[in-house]
Symmetry: C2
Subunit: 366 residues, 2 copies
C-alpha cells in the first residue's frame, strides 16, 4: 500500500496538485483497503503529496474502516451532519493554500463538485485523478494477479455448473439460479455484474436480459458472468449449443472463435490495443459478419469489471507486462444467433497468459 501512496504523492508534487479527492468505492479500496458502497452517502479519500491521507465515511462505518486496517485519520458523519465543514477545516489545518486538485472526473457527481468548490474557494484548477490512477491500477502486482487467477477459476467453475444444468425446457433464470447457488454456497458473496444466461434468439442482443425463455434443441446458450474475489473481478463468456447446430450457427461460432484466437495471438507487450481489436475484427469482417460485431474487443479488468484501458480499433495505447484485460469478440445476427467468446488474459513477457480456461471448442450438449 505504501508504494501506491508514494507514486500518487510524487505525481501530485510534479503536477503541483494540492490534494486528490477520491469518491469511488474501487479507488478508495485500492488505496485504503476499506471496501464500502455507501449508496448516496459520501465516501471519500483525500490524498496529499506529503501529508497523511484522510478518509471520510458515515460514522456508522468508522469501525469497519479501522477493522479493514485503516490507520490514518477518519472523518465520520451522521445522517444529519454535513461532512463538508469538517473536511474544509481538516484540510485547511494542513496550512497549504491549494489552487489545484485532482478529482475522479468520471465518478464525482456535480453536487459534490460544487460542494468541493464552495468549501475551497482558492481552488481554480481541477484535473482528472483517473489519468494517474488508471495507469497505476492497469499494472497488476503479483498479489493482485493471484487474486484475479482465483476469481477466474471460479468463473470457469461457474460455466461448468451452467453447462451441467442445461436441459430441454429449462429456463434462463432456472439455470442462472443454479449457477449462483453453487457459487454462493461455496462462499462467493458477489458476482462481477448481473449474470447473463441467454438462449436462442435472446443471445442475439449483446446486452440481453435473462428471463423465462425455455431452452430448445438447436439453441445456443450464452453465459456471460464473473466472480468477485477479495474485490477483484473475473469476466468470462462461453456459448454452447443444445442438441444440434445448423451450418450457419457453426460458421458463426467458428468465426468468433477464430477471431478470438487471432486477438490472443496478437497480444504481447508493445502491441497497440488497436492492433489486438483489429486482429479479431478483421477476421470477422473477412468472414462477412463485420456489421454484426458492434462493440469493442475488450476492456481492462481488476477491481472494476470494466476498467482502463478500452480495447478498441482506435486506441493506440501499447500493451505492457502486468496488464489484465478481456478478449471478447461476438457476432449477433438478429433472429438467427448470438455468439460471444471471452477470456481474461494477463500480459506476460512474451505474450499473454490466459486466465480463464473453460474449453472453447464448440460444445454441443446432448
Amino acid at each position: 500500500m505504501e508504494n501506491k501512496f508514494k507514486q500518487i504523492g510524487n505525481w501530485m508534487a510534479e503536477q503541483e496538485i494540492g490534494f486528490t479527492f477520491l469518491t469511488s468505492t474501487d479507488n478508495i479500496f485500492y488505496f485504503s483497503g476499506f471496501y464500502s458502497d455507501p449508496h448516496e452517502r459520501l465516501l471519500a479519500l483525500i490524498l496529499f503529496p506529503q501529508d497523511e491521507p484522510i478518509l471520510i465515511c458515515p460514522a456508522m462505518e468508522k469501525n469497519d474502516a479501522k477493522n479493514a486496517g485503516w490507520k490514518y485519520e477518519i472523518i465520520g458523519y451522521s445522517d444529519i451532519e454535513n461532512p463538508w465543514d469538517a473536511i474544509q477545516k481538516k484540510v485547511a489545518a494542513k496550512g497549504q493554500k491549494i489552487t489545484k486538485a485532482a478529482v475522479e472526473k468520471d465518478h464525482m457527481n456535480v453536487s459534490r463538485y460544487e460542494a468541493l468548490r464552495s468549501s475551497f474557494p482558492s481552488l481554480k484548477l481541477f484535473t482528472s485523478a483517473e489519468e494517474k490512477i488508471n495507469r497505476l491500477r492497469m499494472i497488476k502486482t503479483e498479489k493482485e494477479l493471484s487474486i484475479i487467477r482465483e476469481a477466474c477459476k471460479w468463473a470457469d467453475y461457474a460455466i461448468e455448473v451452467g453447462c451441467s444444468e442445461i436441459a430441454e425446457g429449462k429456463t434462463e433464470m432456472q439455470i442462472l439460479a443454479a449457477v449462483e447457488y453453487e457459487l454462493k454456497k461455496k462462499g462467493i458473496a458477489k458476482m462481477s455484474f448481473s449474470t447473463m444466461v441467454l438462449t436462442g434468439k435472446n443471445g442475439a442482443s449483446p446486452h440481453g436480459n435473462p428471463g423465462d425463455t425455455p431452452i430448445q434443441k438447436g439453441d445456443f446458450v450464452l453465459f456471460d458472468l464473473g466472480v468477485v474475489v477479495d474485490g477483484y473481478c473475473s469476466d468470462i463468456t462461453r456459448t454452447v449449443a443444445y442438441g444440434e447446430v445448423n451450418e450457419k450457427q457453426k460458421e458463426i461460432y467458428d468465426t468468433v472463435l477464430n477471431a478470438q484466437l487471432a486477438a490472443i495471438s496478437a497480444s504481447k507487450p508493445g502491441a497497440a490495443c488497436s492492433s489486438i481489436d483489429l486482429a479479431a475484427r478483421n477476421t470477422i469482417r473477412d468472414a462477412g459478419y463485420g456489421e454484426y460485431f458492434p462493440h469493442r474487443l475488450g476492456h481492462g479488468l481488476g477491481l472494476s469489471v470494466h476498467e482502463f484501458p478500452s480495447l478498441t480499433e482506435t486506441n493506440s495505447l501499447k500493451l505492457q507486462e502486468g496488464m489484465v484485460f478481456t478478449i471478447e469478440p461476438g457476432i449477433y445476427v438478429p433472429d438467427i444467433a448470438g455468439v460471444r467468446i471471452e477470456d481474461d488474459v494477463y500480459v506476460a513477457k512474451d505474450g499473454v497468459e490466459i486466465l480463464t480456461n473453460f474449453p472453447k471448442d464448440l460444445h454441443i450438449i446432448k
Copy 2:
C-alpha cells in the same frame, strides 16, 4: 408516461429551462420505459419543454430501446464514436438558444458535465433536475404501487425461506445462497441490493458483510434484503433468534420493535418526516440505547432502493398520500447484538398501509 412528460415540460417552461439532461438508469427508465445499465458508456435522455425527447444509448442497445416501447428519436453510437457531436447537432436543430439546463446533479459526473458545457457554450445556468423529478417519483401511481406490493410479497417470502434455512452451524453465506436460489428459480432476476444475512456479533455492524460465520445457539440472525420487480424495489429487515435469547437481547429486540411501531403510528399525511424519525428515536433514547441507533429512520423507496425523501430527525418535509418509504430503526451494541426491523409502508388517506407483512414478534427458531 405522457403525464410525466407534461409535468416536467411545464416545470421546464416555468423555470425557463431549455432542456433536462438525464443520465441515471432509474430516471431514464421512469421517463422512457427503457431499462439499461450501460456501465461506463453514456446513456442519456434529453427532455424539452415542448419538443419530443431524444434518447442516447450505445448503438448495440437501440433495438432493445425500441422493443421496450421507445417511440421517439434515438442517437446510437459505437464504442469508437463520440456521441457529443451528434447530441449538439440534434439539439441545435431545434433552433432554440439555450442558456439554462437541468441535470442530475447527484448523478452526472464531472466529465459529462464538462462535455455538456463544451457542446453548448451558450449554457450559463445548471439547475438540479432531481428537485423536480424526486417529487414526481415520490408520489406513486396505482400501477407503481401494485408493482411495489408484489416486490414486497417476494421480500416476505425471502424472509420465510431464510428462516426455514436456519440451523446450527450453517453459515451466513449458505443461508443467503438458499434464499436467492429460491427466488431466482421462481424468476426473480435481481435483488434490490446485496442481500445481508448476519449472525451474532456481525449483526452489530449496521453495514456488515455476510461471510462464513456459522450460526450458534443464542445468536440473532439479521436478514436485510429486497427484490426488484419490473424495476421497482422492496426492502425488508427481520431479526430472528436461534435457540434461545438472554434478557439483554430480549430488551434490545423489544425496544426496536416498540420504536418501529411508534414510527408507524406517527405516520400519516401531514406529519413531518422528522416527527416519524423522532417517534422511533425517542423510544430508543428513553430505553437508554440512543447512542446505538446511528442512522436515519428510513428512506423513500421505488425505482431506487434509496430515494427521496430521507427520513431524518431534521427533515421538515410533510408526508403525502402516495409516498412509499421504509421504517427501519435499529440498535447495534458492539460485541453484544444488532437488531433492526424494517417495513415498507405506503401513505394512504388516514395513515400508512404496511406493505411487508412477515411477523415481527420475536421469533425464536428452535
